[in-house]
């Protein structure tokens, strides 16, 4: 069994997820983790699937999907990737402020310098308002006040508290 990563991005239309999932199912591939969302009107799919077929067979099946849907599709073998190692406890960072170039770069560089590993991130630009939500695993509390001040944005950091029931 080989693990493949697949990305597909392009014009949004009903039926695209079904078409991609059917293309994978026709190979006997098992669609494992996936994250799909609409980004400024474009649909973006990222997924990991396991299949007992060679890369060329997956590429061929997805080429037909790409032709039919107009989405840009990539697939590659990710078996060699090392599994992520835990980098601490979970924190959620929320940011909002006036849009300007470099917000994501500045904040994520500060996180990297604090040895925080991003596990989830989403950004939205609406008008001139930029909004970002990030979840990280970090070895300790995070202080992003300097980078927030330099970018002129509001940043809040809070531990992700879980109620285990």
């Amino acid at each position: 069994m080989t693990t493949y990563a697949v990305t597909a991005v392009g014009p949004d239309a009903p039926g695209e997820v079904a078409a991609l999932a059917e293309a994978l199912a026709s190979l006997g591939a098992n669609l494992e983790d996936a994250s799909m969302t609409r980004l400024r009107g474009h649909f973006a799919m990222t997924l990991v699937a396991a299949a007992d077929v060679p890369l060329a067979a997956v590429e061929q099946a997805l080429a037909a999907f790409s032709r039919d849907s107009g989405l840009h599709v990539s697939v590659w073998d990710v078996d060699a990737d090392a599994p992520p190692s835990p980098a601490g406890s979970p924190w959620r960072i929320t940011l909002h402020g006036a849009d300007r170039p470099g917000i994501v770069a500045g904040v994520t560089r500060a996180l990297a310098q604090a040895a925080a590993n991003i596990t989830d991130l989403s950004c939205r630009l609406v008008g001139d308002l930029y909004v970002m939500t990030i979840e990280v695993e970090a070895p300790g509390p995070l202080d992003l006040s300097d980078v927030a001040a330099s970018l002129g944005v509001s940043v809040h950091v809070a531990p992700v508290d879980e109620d285990v029931l």
Partner: protein, 166 residues
């Protein structure tokens, strides 16, 4: 009585429970065993009968000593519980013994009133709860309807791999 915690996708976790007779010796014995299991499981504040493979409407709950506790009724064991009232709304990240590898952001009422029957005596007991205890009641009562927190997550991106703490 030896009890094993069932994990999703065990179908018992997705099956609505039958009424629990509080005078049935088997129900009383199960309640005792569930309390013992809860007490011996670190961090465990509640167990519903289907989580240990018994599709009967009973749960045990005790939030004593847990974080974020406001109300605390101590040990609560109820058969065939009903939600009498629910107020407020709060979304928090929630996990479950029966779904050990995932957590999810789940909206719940912040204050509830629950009524049920006490195993053994069959007496009616009414409990008012808020904050963490209210969430725990709703979580356990969902189990009795065959619902997991997975059925209540707040959106398509509200489900997460369980974080591994160092």
């Amino acid at each position: 009585m030896d009890l094993d915690v069932r994990r999703a996708p065990d179908p018992v976790l997705s099956t609505p429970c039958a009424e629990a007779d509080p005078h049935d010796p088997a129900v009383m014995a199960l309640a005792q065993a569930m309390v013992a299991l809860m007490r011996s499981s670190p961090g465990c504040v509640g167990i519903a009968a289907p989580q240990v493979g018994h599709p009967v409407a009973m749960f045990v709950l005790d939030v004593t000593g847990a974080r974020r506790v406001e109300s605390c009724a101590g040990l609560v064991v109820l058969c065939s519980p009903e939600l009498i009232s629910a107020e407020g709304r709060d979304v928090r990240r929630e996990g479950c013994l029966s779904v050990p590898d995932l957590t999810g952001d789940v909206p719940r009422a912040t204050a509830v009133m629950v009524r049920g029957l006490v195993p053994g005596t069959g007496e009616e007991r009414v409990v008012e709860a808020n904050a963490f205890e209210a969430r725990a009641f709703q979580h356990e009562m969902d189990h009795l309807q065959g619902l997991l927190f997975l059925d209540r997550v707040a959106g398509a991106h509200a489900l997460f791999p369980r974080k591994r703490y160092l």
